[in-house]
Point group: C2
Chain length 201, copies 2
């Protein structure tokens, strides 16, 4: 009986492909084992358990996404960099829905976070992309958070069918980027805190 030649990396990549095909929430050790033609128990030599597998897929995807973004923003600045960042982000998420879901759905424990630098890298990339807008802290953090929120939210809603089909999403997306660019160029000065509604009860 020839061996299948499994490694943790190969298993993780197959799991990521499976996630893209059937959705991140629907990956199972059983299905993964079937795709390799081995028994379920065999995978547990390479991966601690299902949770560990999902974490690995999340880190793999976060790394890939950061790579795409880094390549997109390299050599660009200002609006060009912002648009390139946004499109790299969106294109990856739409092309690899399972992988992208993994980057969000997994609650990483601090240990796993420390082991990897991907998330710090993403934040650095965001700040680099924003550099031309000349924002000083804490505006830089605030603007970065809003941008990532807008990208992430737009893509999740789009992928989940949250936008009715009356208007083409592509065109709408471009207008959103135009708007965000304008906002970054005119980031408002600090104002007094809001009233009671904003404080949770």
């Amino acid at each position: 009986m020839a061996r299948a030649g499994l490694t943790a990396e190969r298993v993780t990549e197959a799991a990521a492909d499976l996630a893209d095909a059937v959705g991140f929430e629907n990956i199972t050790v059983s299905a993964l084992a079937r795709s390799f033609g081995v028994k379920d128990a065999s995978l547990y030599s390479h991966v601690r358990n299902l949770r560990d597998l999902r974490e690995r897929v999340a880190l793999l995807a976060a790394g890939e996404l950061a790579d795409r973004i880094a390549a997109a923003v390299a050599g660009r600045a200002g609006k060009e960099a912002m648009v390139a960042f946004a499109n790299a982000y969106r294109n990856y998420a739409l092309a690899h829905p399972g992988r992208y879901a993994a980057t969000q759905a997994v609650q990483l424990d601090p240990a796993a976070l420390a082991r990897s630098t991907v998330y710090a890298r993403t934040i650095e990339l965001t700040h680099a992309m924003l550099r031309a807008y000349r924002l000083a802290e804490p505006d830089l953090t605030d603007a970065g958070r809003l941008l990532r929120s807008a990208f992430h939210g737009y893509i999740t809603l789009e992928a989940n069918g949250g936008f009715s089909h009356s208007r083409a999403v592509q065109r709408s997306w471009e207008r959103a980027l135009d708007g965000l660019h304008l906002l970054l160029e005119n980031w408002p000065a600090e104002s007094p805190p809001h009233t009671a509604d904003g404080e949770r009860t």
Copy 2:
């Protein structure tokens, strides 16, 4: 043996509470049955299956959320309405993480969508909240999509620990709302479509 007095509504609400406690992805028919002190099979008289149960929770939560938003924007306009909408949205999501996740995680089939009006209601509320900004279509749709994306994205990232703890999220959120208000007041005129990067390959 006294009966537990189950109905579809009671089961759905218990499932929603369970979701808030343990996460929407972790609700199981078994756990739900245990919480009622009945056997698993008993629940299948009230709910078709797990998928049906999750759909019901999603619709329940979407309705509650719409109610909160409606109450918040009533009698307000302009920035006040926008901020009230945003805070109602965020406060609900943070107070009821499982319910909120349900509104996003469930892929509703067209049949279920037709049965309920909640999603249409949410879009109407968005448009009503934007009224004072005097946007005409298609800008209204585009701005509405961006706003919902920003709210949703911000809240998901916040709830998943996507923001490092260097700056208080509450203050950051208020600045984001200031920024979005400014953007809505200065929504940019239509510009020519973007270049190749924005078109998916």
